[in-house]
C-alpha cells in the first residue's frame, strides 16, 4: 500500500519533469529558432531570402545582404551616430550619477531635504508624458535635429544617482577618514577611494545605459529629422517595417533587412555575454528600489 503510493508519486514526479522539460524546451526554441533564422537569412542571396522554408542555414551562403546594407542602405553612418551617442551618453551619465550620488552621501548640508526631493520626484515623471514640452524645450535650446539632443536626454536619472549613493554608503567611512587625516583632498578621496570601491555599481549603470542608449528610439523619433543624423534604430525601422508603408523606397530583400537586425544586436549580445552578472545585479536593485 505504502510502497504503491511512493511509486505512484515517483511516477507523477517523472511525468512532471518530462512535461516541464518539454515546455521549457519549446519556449527556449521559440526564442532560438527566430534568432537563428534571422542570422541564416542575413547570409542568403536575394532570391533565396524570399523562399518559403524554415531556414536555419543558408543553402548558398552569401554576404550580398550585408553589402547592400552598407552600400545602398548606407547603414554605416547611422551605426556610427549610434555608437557616438551611446558611448558619450553612457560616459556622461555614469559620471554625473557618480558625483551626484557622492554628494548625497554627505550627512549634513544646507538644503539636503529639498535636494533629495528634487532628485527623487522626477522618477514619477515619465518621459512619455512630457514629450511635447520636452520637444519645445529642446527647440528653445536649439538642439532639435542634433545628436546633442540624444546625448542630453536621459543624461541624468534618479535611479542611477540613488544606486551610486547606495554603493558609496557601503564603503567604510574609516577609509575616507584616514585619508583625510593624511591630508588628502576631497577630490582625491572621491577618485582614489570611492570610485574604485564602487566599480561594481559603475559597471551596472554603464551596462544598463549602454543597452538603453543603443536601443534609444522615441527621442530619436522626436528630435531627429535629417537622414545624416539618423541613429541605428531609426534607420533600421524604415528597413524592417513592412514595405507597403515605405513604398517610395526600392524593394529591399529579406537578407538585407535581417543583416540590419544582426548588426544592431551583435553589440548587445556581446555586452550581455561579458557582463551577465551585472545585468542580474542591476535588475535586482531596480526591482527592490520600488
Amino acid at each position: 500500500m505504502k510502497s504503491n503510493q511512493i511509486s505512484k508519486s515517483l511516477f507523477g514526479r517523472r511525468l512532471f519533469v518530462v512535461a516541464n522539460t518539454l515546455i521549457l524546451l519549446m519556449l527556449a526554441l521559440s526564442m532560438i529558432v527566430p534568432l537563428i533564422n534571422v542570422l541564416a537569412v542575413s547570409f542568403t542571396t536575394d532570391l533565396e531570402s524570399f523562399e518559403n522554408t524554415i531556414k536555419l542555414f543558408p543553402r548558398d551562403p552569401s554576404t550580398i545582404g550585408y553589402r547592400t546594407l552598407f552600400k545602398r542602405v548606407a547603414i554605416l553612418h547611422p551605426f556610427l551616430n549610434n555608437t557616438i551617442v551611446t558611448l558619450v551618453g553612457t560616459f556622461l551619465h555614469v559620471f554625473l550619477a557618480s558625483i551626484a550620488g557622492y554628494m548625497l552621501t554627505k550627512q549634513r548640508f544646507v538644503g539636503k531635504a529639498l535636494l533629495v526631493l528634487m532628485v527623487t520626484i522626477p522618477m514619477m515623471i515619465p518621459f512619455q508624458m512630457i514629450i511635447i514640452p520636452v520637444y519645445v524645450m529642446m527647440r528653445r535650446l536649439g538642439l532639435i535635429d542634433t545628436l546633442y539632443s540624444l546625448i542630453v536626454i536621459d543624461i541624468v536619472a534618479t535611479f542611477s544617482i540613488l544606486l551610486m549613493k547606495n554603493y558609496f554608503e557601503g564603503i567604510p567611512i574609516s577609509l575616507a577618514e584616514s585619508a583625510l587625516m593624511d591630508g588628502a583632498r576631497e577630490f582625491t578621496i572621491f577618485s582614489r577611494i570611492y570610485v574604485p570601491l564602487a566599480l561594481p555599481g559603475i559597471a551596472t549603470i554603464s551596462i544598463f545605459q549602454f543597452v538603453s542608449r543603443w536601443n534609444q528610439f522615441l527621442p530619436a523619433v522626436l528630435f531627429i529629422n535629417s537622414p545624416t543624423k539618423y541613429t541605428l534604430q531609426i534607420a533600421l525601422r524604415s528597413l524592417v517595417v513592412s514595405q507597403e508603408l515605405t513604398s517610395t523606397t526600392q524593394q529591399v530583400a529579406n537578407n538585407t533587412r535581417m543583416a540590419g537586425i544582426v548588426i544592431s544586436i551583435v553589440p548587445l549580445i556581446l555586452v550581455y555575454i561579458f557582463a551577465q552578472k551585472y545585468f542580474i545585479k542591476g535588475m535586482m536593485t531596480g526591482a527592490i528600489k520600488d
Partner: protein, 306 residues
C-alpha cells in the same frame, strides 16, 4: 553612526567651519548638473505641458489662452476614446499576462534540478528583453511575413495558403500582446527567480518533514512568498502600460490601426506631426494625472499589504 566625517575630524571650530564651507561649495557643484537636468527636462516641462494645454499653442506666431477648450475637444473626439480603449485593453492584458506567466515560468524553472539547463533556459528567455522594439518588431514582422516567414512556411508544409497575419484586424491585439509577452517574460521571470532564491530554505525543510510533495511546497510556500514580488511587478507593468509607444510605432499599419493605436502614439501624431500642440498636451496632462493617481493608490495598497 560614524558616517559623518565632520564629526570625527578633530579641528579647531573656526578651521572646521571654514573647511565645511569650502567643502559644501564643492558639494553643490557636484549635484548642479543633475539639478539643472531635472529642472530643464522634468519640472519645467511638467509646468509647461500644463500651460500649453490651455493655449492654442504655436511654435511661430502668437499663442493665446483658450481655457479648457483643448480638453473639451479631446473628450469630444471619437479618435481619442478609440485610442484610450485600445490602451486600456492592450495595457490591461500586458499587465496581467507579463506578471502571471513569468511567475509560472519561474516556478517551472525552479523545479529544474539540472542547473546548466536551467541557466541556459534563463539566459535564452532573457535575450529578447535586450533588444529594441525595432529589432523585436522587425523579427516578428519577418516571422509572420507571407513570403519567407517561418509561420507561413510551416503552414505551407501542410498545404495551407500563406496568411498575412499582421494585417488581420481581429488578430492584431492578441498578436501585439503575445509579442510583448515574448519580449518581456524572461526579464520578469528572472525577478521572480531571484525572489525564490531568497526564500528561507528552512520553510521547505519543514514542509518536507511534514511530507509535502513538490506541488504542495510550490503552492503553500513559494507562491505566498512571491506575493511581494508579484505586487512590485504588477506596479511596474501598470506604469509601463500607459506608456506603450515603441511597439505600436514599429508594428502598426493602417489596416490594424483602429485596434492598436494607443494614447502615446496619438499624442505624438497630433502634437508633433499635425502640430496641434495644445490638444496633444491636454491628453498628456490627462494621462499624467491618471498615472499619478494609479501610482499613489498602488503604493498605498502595497504598503498596507506587504
Amino acid at each position: 553612526m560614524g558616517k559623518n566625517p565632520d564629526r570625527e575630524v578633530r579641528m579647531s571650530s573656526i578651521a572646521r567651519t571654514a573647511y565645511r564651507a569650502r567643502k559644501d561649495w564643492m558639494l553643490y557643484v557636484l549635484i548642479l548638473p543633475a539639478l539643472m537636468y531635472f529642472i530643464l527636462f522634468a519640472f519645467l516641462p511638467v509646468a509647461e505641458g500644463a500651460n500649453i494645454s490651455f493655449q492654442n499653442y504655436r511654435f511661430v506666431g502668437e499663442s493665446e489662452y483658450i481655457g479648457f477648450q483643448n480638453y473639451q475637444r479631446v473628450f469630444e473626439t471619437a479618435g481619442f476614446w478609440r485610442v484610450f480603449r485600445n490602451t486600456v485593453i492592450l495595457g490591461f492584458s500586458n499587465v496581467l499576462l507579463t506578471a502571471f506567466i513569468p511567475m509560472l515560468l519561474a516556478l517551472m524553472l525552479n523545479e529544474v534540478m539540472f542547473s546548466p539547463w536551467k541557466r541556459f533556459v534563463q539566459t535564452i528567455l532573457y535575450l529578447p528583453h535586450l533588444f529594441s522594439w525595432v529589432v523585436v518588431g522587425g523579427i516578428w514582422i519577418f516571422i509572420l511575413a507571407p513570403n519567407g516567414g517561418i509561420v507561413n512556411s510551416i503552414r505551407g508544409l501542410f498545404g495551407a495558403d500563406p496568411v498575412f497575419f499582421l494585417v488581420k484586424e481581429n488578430l492584431a491585439r492578441s498578436l501585439y500582446i503575445g509579442i510583448n509577452l515574448w519580449k518581456q517574460a524572461g526579464f520578469v521571470c528572472i525577478l521572480f527567480l531571484a525572489a525564490i532564491a531568497g526564500i528561507n530554505p528552512e520553510l521547505y525543510e519543514a514542509a518536507m518533514i511534514d511530507g509535502a510533495g513538490g506541488f504542495m511546497r510550490a503552492m503553500y510556500i513559494t507562491v505566498p512568498e512571491l506575493m511581494r514580488t508579484l505586487k512590485v511587478v504588477l506596479l511596474l507593468n501598470v506604469m509601463g502600460a500607459l506608456r506603450i509607444f515603441d511597439q505600436i510605432y514599429v508594428m502598426r499599419n493602417e489596416v490594424v490601426a483602429p485596434k492598436v493605436d494607443v494614447l502615446m502614439y496619438y499624442v505624438y501624431i497630433r502634437g508633433l506631426e499635425q502640430f496641434d500642440l495644445g490638444y496633444a498636451s491636454a491628453i498628456s496632462v490627462f494621462i499624467f494625472l491618471i498615472t499619478l493617481v494609479i501610482t499613489l493608490i498602488a503604493r498605498r495598497f502595497m504598503k498596507y499589504n506587504v
